[in-house]
Amino acid sequence: MTITITGMRKRFGPTEVLRGIDLTVEKGELVALLGPSGSGKTTLLKIIAGLDWPDMGGLDVDGVNWLNLPAQDRRIGFVFQHYALFPHMKVRDNIAFGLTVRPRSQRPGRGVIAARVDELLHLLQIAHLGDRYPAQLSGGQRQRVALGRALAIEPTVLLLDEPFGALDAAIRRDLRNWLREVHGATGSTSIFVTHDQEEAFELADRVVIMGQGQIEQIGSADQIHDRPATPFVANFMGATVEIPVTMRAGRIEAAGIDATRLERRVLPDGPATLFLRPDDITPIADTQGCWTIETVASTGATLRIALKDGAGNRVETVLPRRAPEAAGLTPGTRTHLRPEAGSVFPGPRPATTPAPAAQAPAKENIR
């Protein structure tokens, strides 16, 4: 199933939760929706599922307008963030639910349903838990039951809302691999929501970054990491250091910054903002430098160095403790900063939180 979303908008009262979403998910693809909490991921998923409706926009699946199709008839598998299992039914009956509610003419026989449930319990590696109630299961086991219940109806589209959000790290990794296998085995088109970058990049064919109701960027891990499309993405991906700079003939210039390791950029002359990850900044001892080291904290492997300039700007950098540059960096040392990689966006530094790009910013990046 190819899912095509066009110009989708949704507001709850005064808040615009989706502000024009355009997205196409190809048949058999596994796509991650990645974004901070409140960016509208769940809302988008619920609209695709038919549990909510947009104010504007289109939702086409293989040429069929799904907005006219009730949720019951969309045949999607939806896995809820908190599982939403039926607490009064055994695991078996939870998984069989979608088959047993079919109209009599389409309902498989008892034996067929039981066989299908057994098959799923086996696939989900919870064959021994069929006769338990959800309250008697661990979080990871509940997650498997929720997925089994969704898969039982042989959905053509699988939607998962933060499927591993409530689980601890080891189980997450385990289930992640296993979800990838299940996706491959069923061949369904899948969209899953997460706010965990690692999870999104490891699992998905493509990652869609959402910020405040808009799609900020679509791409692979490397693309998004190396060439963030907007200040928001740069920031979200960890480039939390923002330095006001001036573009001159494609060169980045700023007092106390050695930009020689950054490529020249095709950007108009004028003010711009440089986005850097703390571990892509090397402080270089320099008696003429305008940055002063305030504190140095060691975590054993790395040094966390806080610096301040004359204007009161503060920057934090992370440096391997054994790096040659680290020698002699003590509180009070004057330095300049040498960015190893970063992205630059035209315009002065945005106020506090990166605005969800009202105007499409130029996609000009450096490496």
């Binding site: 969309r74 039926f86 969704a150």
Partner: protein, 276 residues
């Protein structure tokens, strides 16, 4: 108790808690147990024969029948109303939602007698709608409809208020999951929503029944106390007592007491199930 008592520091007096416990037992005995025993003692004071004869007296039998029929109408209606109201409030957002919750609770804060008088002034012979009702040959007051109406008013919150918090806690995700799995509205209600609230529902129904059977004040206003016609069991007890027929009064009261005791046991059992 003994565990709590032994945890007191050595040397500290244990008489304080003992006095309090003793007082509680004494008061319970005086206010609850003694009257309870007395009811049955007086009811059987003239022997089994007299007891049965008093129960089988036509007026008392009629009162039992009237009370039963009232409960049989009121309780199912209130179950339906309670589920519908709780469903509307818990699973949907609409303007006036908060107001609806308040309205459901109103009968708790209005004296049943006031409700009875209001119905009388509205639907009674001299009431606002009286002439119209009379013209259409409908008698509401001093008849079964009035008794049912006032009882329904008094017991309206019982089911809704047991079911509502549970539905609110459950939210709508289970229902949404059922929708995506292809279930119809009715299937969702009977297979997902209802099983989730069934113990609370039964609990509310038991409370509602106990209250419906025992209601005195409101019914007394709208029934007109017509002997053998509009007297419910509680009214019949009072009537027999005023007739100085103590054995008869206590025999009728013993029936009410039995219903109350059964309700109490059911309530205790359901409270356990509800907590699971």
């Amino acid at each position: 108790m003994s565990h709590a008592a032994t945890s007191f520091a050595p040397g500290q007096s244990r008489t304080g808690p003992r006095i309090l416990i003793g007082l509680a037992v004494l008061l319970t005995g005086l206010l609850v147990v003694a009257p309870l025993i007395y009811i049955f003692a007086r009811a059987f004071s003239a022997g089994w024969g007299a007891y049965v004869r008093n129960i089988m007296a036509p007026d008392t039998l009629h009162a039992i029948w009237l009370t039963s029929i009232t409960a049989l109408i009121v309780v199912p209606v209130n179950i339906l109303f309670g589920i519908a109201a709780a469903w509307a409030v818990a699973k949907h957002r609409f303007p006036g939602r908060g107001l609806l919750v308040t309205i459901i609770e109103i009968p708790f804060s209005i004296s049943p007698i006031i409700a009875g008088i209001c119905y009388l002034l509205l639907y009674g012979r001299q009431g606002l709608l009286g002439p119209w009702l009379q013209a259409h040959d409908v008698q509401m007051m001093f008849a079964l409809p009035g008794i049912v109406m006032v009882t329904m008013f008094v017991t309206a919150p019982f089911v809704a208020r047991e079911v509502l918090p549970l539905m609110q806690a459950q939210g709508t995700e289970q229902e949404q999951a059922a929708v995506t799995l292809g279930a119809s509205g009715w299937q969702i209600f009977t297979r997902v929503t209802l099983p989730g609230i069934k113990w609370a529902l039964l609990y509310g129904a038991v409370l509602c029944t106990a209250r419906a059977v025992g209601e005195f004040g409101g019914v007394s206003v709208v029934s007109g106390n017509i002997r053998g016609q509009t007297n419910t069991l509680p009214l019949q007890v009072e009537l027999l007592f005023n007739d100085l027929n103590a054995v008869g009064a206590f025999a009728a009261a013993s029936i009410l007491t039995l219903i109350a005791l059964v309700a109490l046991v059911l309530k205790a059992v359901l409270e356990g199930r509800k907590a699971v």
